[in-house]
C-alpha cells in the first residue's frame, strides 16, 4: 500500500470512529447535565466538600466558583511541585524552582499544559499523577461546565441562574472523563503504553548503562489527550515510544483528542432541542479542520522546505512509525483542539505546515476547539456572525431565540480581543528584549516564529511549542504564565456574564425575518467571519514569521 492510500484510509478510519460515537456520546453528555438525579458517589463528594448540589448559582456566583476553584488549584499544585522531594516516588529529584512551578501550575490548571520542564528529568511519579494528571481531569471538566452554562443561557427563559458549577464539575469528571479514561487507558496498555511505578536499569548492546524509565504513563496519556491537556509524561511527549508506541496508538490518541470536542456539538444540539444547530456548528468546525489538514499534509508530504529538500523528505523531528501523514494529522488535531500534545517536532515542520498549525491555534481553538472551550468559543463567534449579518440587512440580530444587543456584543467584543491582545503584546514585549535572541533555537524569521508560537500557544491554552526556544528564564516563565492565566479566566468570566445576560431574556419567536442559523448559508458566514477576524488580527505577525519563511 502506498503512503498516500494508507494516509487517506487512516483519516477515513478516524472519521468513521468519530461518527460511530457521535450520537450516543453526545446524547449521553446532554443527559449528564440535564438529569435531576445525583449518583451515590456524587452525594458522597458533595457531603465531604460541603456543597449543596441542589442550589442554583447566579452567573456571578458561577464565575466566582470557577475562578476560586482555579486559584485554589494553582496554589495546591504549586505546593506539590515545590515540595515534590518530600513526596513518595520522587525518583530522588528536587522540588521545582519557584517560577517554573508557577508557570507549570498555571499551565495545567488552565488546560494549557505548556511545559518549560522535561518530565523524565524533573518530576517524580507522585507529582505527575497526583498533581498534574488530576488537573488534566479537572481543567477539562471546568471547560465542559462553562460550555454547559452557556448553553443553559440560551435555553433558559427569564432566569437568574446558570446551574451549579460544583455539580457540573463533579458530573463531568465522574460520569464522563473518568469512565472514558479508564477504558482508554486499557486500550493504550494493550497497545504497549507503559504503566509502572519504578525505573529499572539496563546495559545496552554497546555496553552502556542506561535507565529504562518507568512511570504511570498510560493513565496520564489517555486523559492528556481526552481532556485536551497535552502535557507529556516525557519531554518528547507523544513522539516518545513509551507514550505512543505504534501507529495504532497514534490513531487512537488522535481519536481521543477529537472525540469530546466533536461529540459536544451533538450535546449542544440536543440540549438546545435543535440538533441541526449542533450539526451546523460541527460543519463550520469541519470545514476549517479539513482545510488545515489538507494544507499541512500537502506541505509535509511533499517536503515544502529547503531543509526537507536537502534531506530528501520532511522527516526531521518525525518518528519512522508515524511518517509524514501520521505526524501531520496529529499536528492538526492537537492545535485545532486545545490539546498541544505533539508526536513530532513542530519546530522542524515546513513553513507552510508549521504556519498552518500556528494559524490553527490563532483561530481561537474552535476547529473543533478544546473540551468545552470549543463550544463556547464557536458560539461567541456565531453571535458575532449573526451581528454582522444583522448589520447587513438592518435587523436586530438574534441567535437561538435570544436578542443580541449592545450588552451581549460588549462581552463578545471583549472576548475576541482578549486572546489576540495577550498574544501580540506578549510577543512584542518579548521580541523587544535583547535577551530573547539568545533564547531562540533558530535564527532569523524562524526565531520570531518560535516566540509568536509560544505566546499564541499560551494565550490560547494550547500548550504545544516550537520547542527550540528556551523558556526557562524568569521573564518567560512569568509572562507565559500570565498569558495562560488571563487567556483562560477572562474569556470564561465573559462567557458566563454573556450566558447570564441571555438567560435573563425572554424568547424571541421565530419569524419570516429570522436568519436561520442551522443552514449551510450560516455555516458559510460563520467560517467567513472566523477566517476574516483571524486574518485581520494576525496577518502582520504571520507575515514576519511563517509567511516570510515560506517565501524564502
Amino acid at each position: 500500500m502506498s503512503d498516500t492510500a494508507g494516509g487517506l484510509l487512516s483519516i477515513a478510519a478516524l472519521i468513521a470512529l468519530l461518527a460511530i460515537v457521535y450520537v450516543p456520546l453526545g446524547d449521553y453528555m446532554a443527559r449528564v447535565f440535564t438529569s435531576g438525579k445525583h449518583l451515590r458517589v456524587e452525594r458522597g463528594v458533595y457531603r465531604l466538600t460541603g456543597v449543596n448540589p441542589d442550589a442554583e448559582q447566579s452567573p456571578k456566583a458561577y464565575a466566582l466558583s470557577v475562578v476560586g476553584f482555579s486559584l485554589a488549584s494553582i496554589v495546591l499544585l504549586m505546593g506539590i511541585l515545590l515540595a515534590q522531594a518530600q513526596l513518595p516516588m520522587s525518583r530522588d529529584l528536587e522540588g521545582m524552582p519557584f517560577w517554573m512551578s508557577f508557570n507549570t501550575a498555571i499551565s495545567f490548571v488552565t488546560n494549557t499544559n505548556w511545559q518549560s520542564y522535561a518530565g523524565e528529568s524533573t518530576l517524580g511519579f507522585t507529582a505527575q499523577m497526583a498533581g498534574l494528571a488530576v488537573q488534566n481531569f479537572l481543567s477539562a471538566a471546568v471547560g465542559i461546565a462553562v460550555a454547559v452554562a452557556l448553553i443553559r443561557g440560551f435555553t433558559r427563559v427569564r432566569s437568574g441562574s446558570l446551574g451549579n458549577f460544583w455539580v457540573d464539575l463533579t458530573r463531568g469528571t465522574l460520569r464522563i472523563l473518568l469512565p472514558l479514561a479508564l477504558v482508554g487507558a486499557v486500550v493504550l496498555l494493550l497497545g504497549g503504553v507503559i504503566q509502572s511505578f519504578q525505573d529499572s536499569t539496563m546495559t545496552t548492546l554497546a555496553g552502556q548503562d542506561h535507565v529504562l524509565p518507568g512511570g504511570p504513563v498510560a493513565s496520564q496519556e489517555v486523559i492528556k489527550n481526552l481532556g485536551n491537556n497535552g502535557g507529556g509524561f516525557f519531554n518528547a511527549n507523544a513522539a516518545h515510544p513509551f507514550e505512543n508506541p505504534n501507529a495504532f496508538t497514534n490513531l487512537f490518541e488522535i481519536f481521543l483528542i477529537l472525540v469530546l470536542p466533536i461529540s459536544l456539538t451533538r450535546t449542544l444540539g440536543t440540549m438546545l432541542g435543535n440538533r441541526r444547530q449542533g450539526l451546523a456548528v460541527l460543519g463550520a468546525m469541519g470545514v476549517l479542520m479539513l482545510a488545515a489538514l489538507t494544507l499541512t499534509t500537502w506541505a509535509e508530504v511533499s517536503a515544502q522546505s529547503p531543509t526537507a529538500q536537502v534531506a530528501g523528505a520532511a522527516m526531521e523531528g518525525k518518528e519512522t512509525r508515524f511518517g509524514e501523514w501520521g505526524s501531520a494529522l496529529f499536528a492538526v488535531a492537537t492545535t485545532g483542539t486545545s490539546t498541544g500534545a505533539v508526536n513530532s517536532a513542530h519546530d522542524s515542520m515546513t513553513p507552510v505546515g508549521g504556519g498552518t498549525v500556528l494559524l490553527n491555534m490563532m483561530l481561537g481553538e474552535i476547529a473543533p476547539g478544546g473540551v468545552g472551550a470549543g463550544i463556547y468559543g464557536i458560539l461567541v463567534m456565531a453571535i458575532l456572525a449573526v451581528f454582522i449579518c444583522g448589520l447587513m440587512v438592518g435587523r436586530t440580530p438574534e441567535l437561538l431565540g435570544k436578542k443580541i444587543s449592545a450588552r451581549q456584543m460588549t462581552y463578545v467584543a471583549l472576548y475576541t480581543l482578549t486572546t489576540p491582545a495577550l498574544v501580540l503584546i506578549g510577543t512584542g514585549v518579548a521580541i523587544s528584549r535583547d535577551s530573547t535572541a539568545d533564547a531562540m533555537g533558530n535564527a532569523g524569521g524562524h526565531g520570531f516564529s518560535e516566540v509568536l508560537y509560544a505566546y499564541t500557544s499560551a494565550a490560547n491554552n494550547n500548550g504545544s511549542a516550537f520547542g527550540g526556544i528556551t523558556v526557562t528564564s524568569d521573564f518567560f516563565q512569568v509572562t507565559l504564565g500570565l498569558a495562560m492565566l488571563l487567556g483562560r479566566l477572562i474569556p470564561i468570566v465573559l462567557v458566563l456574564l454573556l450566558a447570564g445576560s441571555l438567560a435573563q431574556q425572554g424568547k424571541v419567536p421565530v419569524t419570516a425575518g429570522t436568519l436561520p442559523t442551522h443552514k449551510p448559508l450560516f455555516v458559510g458566514m460563520l467560517v467567513g467571519v472566523i477566517v476574516i477576524m483571524t486574518g485581520l488580527t494576525y496577518f502582520p505577525a504571520l507575515a514576519l514569521g511563517p509567511i516570510a519563511e515560506a517565501l524564502a
Partner: protein, 195 residues
C-alpha cells in the same frame, strides 16, 4: 461590593480545596493504581517490553539505541545520543543552515560506511526523530546496511535479509502508519545468529 466579592471568592476557594483533596484521592491515586493493576495482567508489556539476552535486560523493544560498530545495524541520528532520560528532537527549523550542514555531514558518513553513493542514502538515515529515541529505521535504510552487517558478522546476505524481514513491522492493520525495522530486536537477532 468588592469586599463581598472577595469574601465570596475566599469561601469558594475553601470549598474548592476540599473538593481538590477528594478528587486527588480518586483521580490522582485510585485511578492510576487501578490502571497499574490492569497492566500487571499483561506481563512485561506495561513495563516497556524489555529485551533480554541471556537473561540480562539489554534494552526496550520500544526504545532505539546508539550502536556504531560495523557489526551492528545503525539507528537514526539522535540529538541526545539515545539518552533514555533526555528524550528530545533537534528542533532545527525548516530554513536552518545548521540542519543542512548536519544532514550533509551524515549523508557523507553513511555513504562512506555503507560504500554507496550519497544519492542512495534515505531521508531517515540523515534526520533526527521526534523523540531522539526512534526504535525504527526505514526498510530502505536497513537494506542499505545489510551487506556490511552480513560481511562483518560472517553471515550470508540472504540470512541477514530474512532477519530484517522478521524484525520489520508493517503498517498496522495493513494501512496505519509506515513500515519500520526495529533496530534493537534486529541486532539481537543478528547476535543470536552468530552465536
Amino acid at each position: 461590593m468588592i469586599s463581598s466579592t472577595l469574601s465570596d471568592l475566599a469561601r469558594q476557594s475553601v470549598a474548592a480545596l476540599r473538593l481538590l483533596v477528594v478528587f486527588t484521592l480518586i483521580l490522582g491515586i485510585g485511578y492510576p493504581v487501578l490502571v497499574w493493576g490492569v497492566g500487571r495482567a499483561l506481563g512485561d508489556r506495561a513495563d516497556g517490553q524489555p529485551v533480554r539476552v541471556d537473561g540480562q535486560v539489554v534494552g526496550s523493544a520500544l526504545l532505539g539505541q546508539s550502536l556504531t560498530g560495523v557489526e551492528w545495524f545503525h539507528s537514526r541520528p539522535s540529538p541526545n545520543d539515545y539518552d533514555t532520560l533526555a528524550s528530545a528532537p533537534s528542533n532545527l527549523g525548516p530554513l536552518s543552515p545548521d540542519l543542512d550542514a548536519a544532514v550533509a555531514e551524515r549523508r557523507t558518513a553513511v555513504a562512506e560506511t555503507e560504500g554507496v553513493a550519497e544519492s542512495a542514502v534515505p531521508a531517515d538515515a540523515v534526520t533526527a526523530s521526534g523523540s531522539g529515541l526512534d526504535p525504527h529505521i526505514s526498510p530502505a535504510y536497513a537494506e542499505l546496511q545489510a551487506a556490511r552487517v552480513a560481511e562483518a558478522n560472517g553471515l550470508s546476505l540472504a540470512t541477514v535479509r530474512s532477519l530484517i524481514d522478521e524484525n520489520t513491522q508493517g503498517r498496522v492493520l495493513g494501512f496505519l502508519g509506515e513500515p519500520g525495522v526495529n533496530v534493537l530486536t534486529l541486532n539481537v537477532a543478528i547476535l543470536r545468529a552468530t552465536a
